[in-house]
């Protein structure tokens, strides 16, 4: 209890300074303001602070994130993130699209791991509909989600490496990510924004020969991960730039609703796949990776090993995939197979109705959460009996994780600010929606 008041006090003094600032302004704590690039430099060295603006167009800000930093020389006193540069009105669009079309909208939020968004939306709709998805569909979903976790963490390795200085990591990370994207194209038809996981199951069954291709992809990715580990994990420059940088504690994380690898790096092994399994995660064997220092190095290590754990899960899915339907066989929810449309008038009509009006969902509200590569992604959905949701809100993990910039970034150096933002791994699509 006392620790909590401590943190609140610190937060209060910090928040106090922000009170009369606009959303896109940062006023300095001390008296005079010197803007970089203009004006006379003051002669006194008593620490007039400087305010610089980083972004929204910047190679190291992981999308359009604007950081306003108050500097005292090279030390960062305060960082204020300004977001909204990618606000797409997806929640408003979600209210105008039917439940069948909804996944196309939602999949573009966290665009690095598309299946997580689609899955959470589909689970929310299915809970409101009160339907159970067949076993094969659940295993396919689990496999695709874990593949997308691998793709997202490979993206993290690439961009994190490049931001901290290991520029060749960009090429290596993308090389392995191409393997996973090729699998997505093989199974779903698209490399990204696949719209494969839909309410009721998945869009299509797995094509022939999928087992061997997926196992080969896993082998390639795991070999690549071993290469990154050898390249970076004991590298003295890497250690110098990441160990002890951007430290955050469990309590600070829990206060700010921070989840995912950031929370796990502080020593708190919270993973929704183990705690509240939403897919058959309790039938496969995998570990939750967590460390205890809460710095940038830990988060890099966690995401690196999570790729291997996901590969483990995918291999078990290949082994244990049950037979059965890939979608709920309810004519009011699932469109008929294309071949049937030529034969049966009823099939044609169902197809037409489903793709123009969609299906109706009984009135209700629900909140579903799953573990995306960035943390807990949730969907709060309210329906009113019609074919479109009244309210569709996605709790994007990066939106909350970005609030960790303040405890991590205060009292650090400018170069560390880049490493810190990169280790949070924000995807602005889900921050701004």
């Amino acid at each position: 209890m006392s620790d909590m008041t401590h943190a609140s006090e610190r937060e209060e003094t910090r928040l106090e300074r922000q009170t009369d600032e606009g959303a896109q302004q940062l006023r300095p704590i001390t008296r005079e303001m010197v803007i970089a690039g203009g004006g006379m430099w003051p002669q006194d060295d008593l620490g007039d602070t400087m305010i610089i603006n980083m972004g929204p167009q910047h190679p190291s800000t992981h999308g359009v994130l604007r950081l306003m930093m108050e500097l005292d020389g090279e030390d960062v006193l305060r960082i204020k993130p300004v977001i909204g540069y990618l606000h797409t009105g997806m929640e408003k669009t979600g209210e105008e699209l039917t439940y069948v079309q909804g996944t196309t909208n939602v999949t573009r939020m966290d665009y690095a791991s598309n299946f997580a968004n689609e899955l959470v939306y589909s689970l929310a709709v299915e809970r409101l509909l009160d339907v159970d998805v067949p076993e094969r569909a659940r295993w396919i979903r689990m496999m695709m989600c874990e593949l997308s976790r691998m793709a997202s963490h490979l993206l993290f390795q690439a961009t994190n490496g490049m931001d901290i200085g290991a520029v060749s990591m960009m090429l290596y990370g993308w090389r392995e990510r191409e393997e996973v994207l090729r699998i997505f194209e093989f199974i779903t038809g698209l490399r990204m924004n696949c719209n494969y996981i839909r309410p009721g199951g998945v869009a299509a069954d797995l094509p022939d020969g999928w087992q061997q291709r997926i196992l080969d992809a896993c082998d390639t990715v795991c070999a690549g991960v071993a290469e990154y580990d050898e390249l970076l994990s004991q590298n003295p420059i890497w250690l110098e730039r990441t160990v002890g940088i951007g430290v955050i504690t469990t309590e600070e994380c829990l206060e700010r609703s921070i989840t995912g690898p950031i929370l796990r790096s502080t020593g708190f092994p919270w993973d929704l796949r183990k705690a509240q399994p939403y897919l058959p995660y309790d039938e496969v064997d995998f570990d939750v990776i967590y460390t205890s220092n809460g710095d940038v190095y830990d988060r890099y290590r966690i995401r690196l090993y999570e790729i291997l754990e996901s590969a483990k899960i995918v291999r078990q899915c290949v082994e244990k995939m049950p037979d059965g339907d890939f979608r709920v066989q309810d004519k009011k929810l699932t469109p008929p197979p294309r071949a049937r449309i030529d034969e049966s008038m009823e099939a044609l009509i169902h197809h037409f109705k489903l793709f123009t009006e969609g299906f109706k969902v009984p009135a209700g509200e629900t909140y579903v959460a799953i573990e995306s590569p960035r943390g807990e992604i949730g969907c709060y959905m309210v329906s009113d009996g019609s074919g479109k949701p009244v309210r569709m809100h996605i709790r994007g993990p990066s939106f909350y994780n970005l609030q960790s910039i303040d405890p991590m970034g205060s009292d650090s150096l400018v170069a560390d600010a880049v490493a810190i933002v990169s280790s949070i791994d924000p995807i602005m699509g889900e921050v701004d929606r």
Partner: protein, 168 residues
């Protein structure tokens, strides 16, 4: 989302004086602490409807299902809680009228409510009292209107075909 030490006293499983005992012990404690609140269950998740003194996360408006004992207003502010220690979730819903869209802020208790409350203000116009930085977060600073309200248009550009005069 965050643990809740201030709200859950040491393992009291309280029962309310009221119609039926509440199955969920956490919800029971909340209902006891805030008289006038109503418990409901939504698809297996416990939901408590409280008076305006408790805060929330995001809003919705429009028609919805009615719960007995709750006076529906235009806006509902919803807060989802997660207790890591007990591994369970609780949802708290608060009705906010259109005539006076203000509500107390949760930031003094959970600093992490900072961004979501700003988002709620930005998109719906609900002001949170006690929030240190009640400014727009997603829309430009000089935007007029609150986009996610149902009476704010989505501003769709109509579909044009080749040869039509441009809509711009």
């Amino acid at each position: 989302m965050a643990d809740d030490p201030a709200r859950e006293p040491d393992h009291e499983s309280a029962e309310t004086e009221g119609p039926a005992p509440i199955a969920d012990e956490v919800a029971a404690v909340v209902v006891e602490r805030f008289p006038g609140s109503v418990f409901a269950e939504s698809h297996g998740q416990p939901v408590v409807y409280v008076d305006r003194s408790v805060v929330v996360d995001h809003l919705l408006d429009g028609t919805r299902r009615r719960v007995d004992g709750v006076e529906p207003e235009r806006f509902e502010v919803v807060m989802n809680f997660l207790s890591h220690a007990r591994n369970r979730r609780l949802r708290i819903v608060c009705q906010v009228p259109e005539s006076d869209p203000t509500i107390a802020s949760l930031v003094p208790v959970y600093p992490g409510a900072n961004f979501p409350e700003r988002e709620s203000y930005d998109l719906f116009g609900i002001t949170f009292e006690g929030h240190p930085d009640m400014t727009r977060i997603l829309m430009p600073d000089d935007w007029h209107g609150f986009p996610l309200r149902k009476d704010d248009a989505a501003a769709r550009v109509p579909v044009t075909f080749k040869g039509d005069p441009s809509p711009r």
